[in-house]
Symmetry: C2
Subunit: 220 residues, 2 copies
DNA sequence: TTTAATATTTAGATTAGGCTAAAAATAAAT
DNA sequence: ATTTATTTTTAGCCTAATCTAAATATTAAA
């Protein structure tokens, strides 16, 4: 069976919002995520239900099926591989890739993806630190914690970001908080949850709780 | 103004069939080229006329406008750059690229194309020997002649193919007639126009007039 | 110069994806 | 336990791109 571009986008949104099928997702959430109206979502859910990529009970929400997960993971795989390509080969900044990857992920050609994967040396993570599912949809995920939840004196390495918006990524660039950076929590302000961080053993950095909550760390 | 994927495909077909705006094109020809019905073509011509990328007079054919040419050349540029990428970087065979390039040519991102072009070292020709328009739509075309029109003892270099079908390209691979090969016409059979060719000063090759007419040569 | 053949366009449907406004179901508050 | 608010779905409409069948224009033949 083949999915349309719109169906692929919906399925990907559902997969993400449901955290891989764990949480339940609302019609309104989907509408917000992909910038459509709830009425349009209802209609699409009916169609996705008929195609059996979700299990849909009117008014009671939906459950992504195993088939649906496979499709979603396939699209996510393509999206992230293209992002790696854009950054590694075409020198895109990490905040410039998302829009384009959003289009490239819909190109249909198994050979293309297989070759692209090999060309990039089978990367395991995209430029934002998110894991790239393998061709069978398996994801090797690392245990990671939000920076705002770490305690003073704990150390680790930035491995991913939760928010991939250009604004946030450009901010991180500016302050030097790149993926791979080793960090240590120097201080935490009780009052507002803001943090003082040591980056790469040399630079100290202050950040709000809000910023910190969008930085994911592999503790060490 | 932005064109839809279908509009881009129509415009490209019109550009090709009209030989860059020189020849006149029929509704039926377009339908055949892009595998649709004439009725669908009529409707699309009306729309393309409204968008002023063609000048359309019902029953009397059409003329591609300067604006239309710019759009068509932009799409052709993208198509050919992607073909180079697929062959040079992802090791696609030259008969495997067309389908995928047909999709990739519709990705919207000026930055992407600019970077891709640079990454490929500003190639001037695609894997089938067709020239790649520059970002302004300028095409540097070489004078080339169909192999079947050459005379005995004349020499040259294969620079392009007219037919890019997988079947034809695989045949050329098999007999060793690649782009760049130096050739010499050893003999021509008066009766059916078939030819005997010397390839790279070592291999002789017999081919029908039909095959030869799809091979383009830069004479020397 | 009529008539026949061919090419092209129009009419009317269909499918996909979206929208607004109204209806209906569920959830939250009194 | 009603009433109110929120969420979700349905109804009806729209645009893009396709199709088949019918109508019309152009071109070729008799
Ligand atoms: Mn992304
Ligand atoms: Mn997308
Ligand atoms: Mn091609
Ligand atoms: Mn195309």
């Amino acid at each position: 069976m083949e999915l349309t571009v719109a169906e692929e986008n919906y399925l990907k949104a559902i997969y993400h919002l449901s955290d891989g099928g764990k949480k339940s997702v609302s019609t309104n959430d989907i509408a917000a995520e992909i910038n459509t109206k709830p009425a349009s979502v209802s209609d699409m859910l009916r169609k996705l239900g008929e195609k059996e990529v979700i299990e849909y009970r009117k008014y009671y929400g939906l459950q992504i099926t195993e088939t649906g997960k496979r499709y979603a993971l396939q699209t996510i795989r393509k999206h992230r591989l293209w992002e790696v390509f854009l950054v590694e080969k075409l020198n895109f900044a990490w905040d410039e890739v998302h829009e384009v990857a959003e289009q490239l992920e819909h190109i249909q050609s198994p050979l293309l993806i297989q070759r692209l994967d090999a060309y990039l040396n089978f990367p395991k993570f995209d430029p934002h630190g998110d894991p790239i599912p393998d061709e069978f949809g398996d994801v090797r995920s690392r245990p990671r914690v939000q920076l705002n939840e770490m305690d003073v004196d704990q150390t680790g390495q930035i491995v991913a970001v939760k928010d991939s918006s250009a604004a946030f990524l450009r901010y991180l660039d500016k302050v030097g908080a790149y993926i791979g950076a080793r960090i240590k929590v120097l201080d935490k302000v009780e009052f507002d949850g803001s943090l003082e961080i040591l980056v790469d053993q040399k630079k100290t950095l202050f950040m709000s709780k809000d910023v910190a909550s969008n930085i994911l760390v592999l503790q060490s």
